[in-house]
Assembly symmetry: D2
Homo-oligomer: 79 residues x 4
């Protein structure tokens, strides 16, 4: 579940290991490049934290963030 | 199923799209780097062809190839 | 230099090691996803072969291929 | 320059764009998997923050961290 906090959409993801976490990051990176909308994200081993906000809209949550959030969730549904 | 052909272990993989295919390739790349044993592979869109042989053993199939083949298969079992 | 052969644009790239080759492939993958135009490519260790053709145009070379070829070359100029 | 702070080795990296930043992250990911020592890192667009510490040594800086820091720096020297 994405949570709204500090004008950001935030979600934490956990995988079996680093390899799976980074493969997920690679797929998110494709989405980000396609949409030209890039997340702030942090990773350590099997954990990935994603935070979405729209800098150009004064750091508020916009449709761009919601669309990227949905596309990220869809990556994991497929598997 | 890996098939033995021309002194190589060969296998074809198919995914839903390019993003999933390349995420798989990223995970195989981690294995290859860890084992210091690199595949020949080709990709177009959602398809990946992998061929394993051991150059240092005169281009024959060795335990290195079998170990990498098993590790690659394990990546897909997990999902 | 890209060469025209069998209705494809072809080019071979060589890097210092697998890590650099795969980092290049990751950048090419971003371009491919953005343009929704994907190469056939093969890699072994530090070598990458790229072949571009447009399937939807009866496997001929189109502007899409030329544009992707240029974008790929630009990746390497920067470094 | 890596700085020592809160028992961590920290460094900030900046690239021309997201594609270059993520290609760098892919190369760092290879190092991390090979050494079985994974960084905490964050990225937004062209910026990457890396923090290294050894969890198994009570979150102190060890030789593992110094070795990974050197290997990361080496990635950028080459280019």
């Amino acid at each position: 579940m994405w949570r709204e906090e500090d004008n950001k959409l935030k979600k934490s993801f956990q995988f079996n290991n680093f390899s799976e976490a980074f493969a997920f990051m690679t797929q998110v990176a494709f989405l980000a490049e396609k949409m030209d909308h890039h997340p702030w994200w942090a990773n350590v081993y099997n954990k990935v934290e994603v935070e979405l906000t729209t800098h150009d809209a004064g750091n508020t949550i916009t449709d761009k963030d919601k669309k990227l959030a949905q596309a990220i969730d869809k990556l994991l549904e497929k598997k």
